[in-house]
């Protein structure tokens, strides 16, 4: 499994698409809202390009070509679950150790 952290743009995009399809600007706004991170346009579309190449997300047919939405594929959903589980393990361990320190 690929290492990731909570500010990894691909993880943020996958997380944003977890509750449904969104286009570029909506993803950027969503990420800013839930993670407090503003992804730059180049960074966002770099992540979208990589995720599409790996077939973890796919574009959705839309009448507005300029605001093409994206959605998670089943492989993407599986990947997101794996990455979040891994992060959760790190978070749990860290919190537990802090408690005992």
């Amino acid at each position: 499994m690929r290492n990731s952290n909570s500010s990894d743009p691909t993880l943020l995009v996958l997380s944003s698409l977890a509750d449904g399809e969104k286009h570029g600007y909506a993803i950027m706004e969503d990420i800013q809202r839930f993670a407090g991170i503003r992804l730059g346009p180049g960074t966002l579309y770099g992540a979208i390009t990589r995720l599409e190449e790996r077939e973890w997300i796919c574009p959705v047919e839309s009448t507005d070509e300029r605001r093409r939405p994206y959605r998670l594929t089943s492989a993407g959903r599986h990947q997101l679950q794996e990455q979040l589980a891994s992060l959760e393990q790190v978070v749990k361990t860290g919190l537990r150790r802090l408690k005992h320190a």
Binding site: G40, G42, T43, Y45, I48, E53, E55, R66
Partner: protein
Amino acid sequence: MRRLTDLAMAAYPPEWRSRYGMELQCLLEDSSRHGAARLRDVFDILRGGLIVRYTGSNVVRMAATWGLTCGLLGLLIFGAVALAMPDRYQAETTLVGRVREPQDGSGYQPASKQKMFDVVNRATNDEALARLIGLYGLYGYEVVPDRPYRLGQDPARDIAVSAKVAEFRRDIHVAFFDPNNDHHPASQADGVVVVTYRSAAPGLVAQLANQIASLIGQESLKESAGTGSFRIVITSPARVPHKPYRPNRTAILLWGLACGAFVGITIALFRRRPMQLAS
């Protein structure tokens, strides 16, 4: 700001722009409408474009693949050329020139470069070289040891022999060292002439280098008219070479590899494969 972002978007490869360009443009317009367009977005786009251009399209992998493929091709081509090239051998004879001192006539001083040059020129005239060609049957010429051809006997044959002599001259190299100006191990006290002959036959190169040197020695005797006031003598005769001086096959192969790799990398950089976009 729009102009700047448009400029920055040029950093992306064309195939990427045709797939995502409109979407990115739309995102920038939306950001701008909500007052969120910033200068740092321009840098972010520029950075993203360069990343896509140089990693997304695997330009490094392509350059390595093309470089290696063309390098191996170059190696094969240059290798074939190197194998086809005939071996060339060279042998050299060293001579020293001395002039008897005029004051007491007992000692010798080094002969000047000019004096030796004149003697060598006379010794290696066309007539003398044509005789050697006939004697050894050089450059495809028939061997006539008993009756060597003399220039001037037959105009038509003169032309053919002159061509052989010109060929012979190209294989002879004579270097002059002056004790006062040039550095040569043997030229500390004497003027030095080094005669080098090059040919495909290792045995022949030594014989001919020594023969030419011998002609020079004989000419120096003529120069002094038998008085011994000037002489050029062989100090180090030519020996049969053990290995060819040319071609340097290792160097040729390395050149082939380097040239091929250079061509391959250039092709890879100028003919980048379109990006494999998902859709």
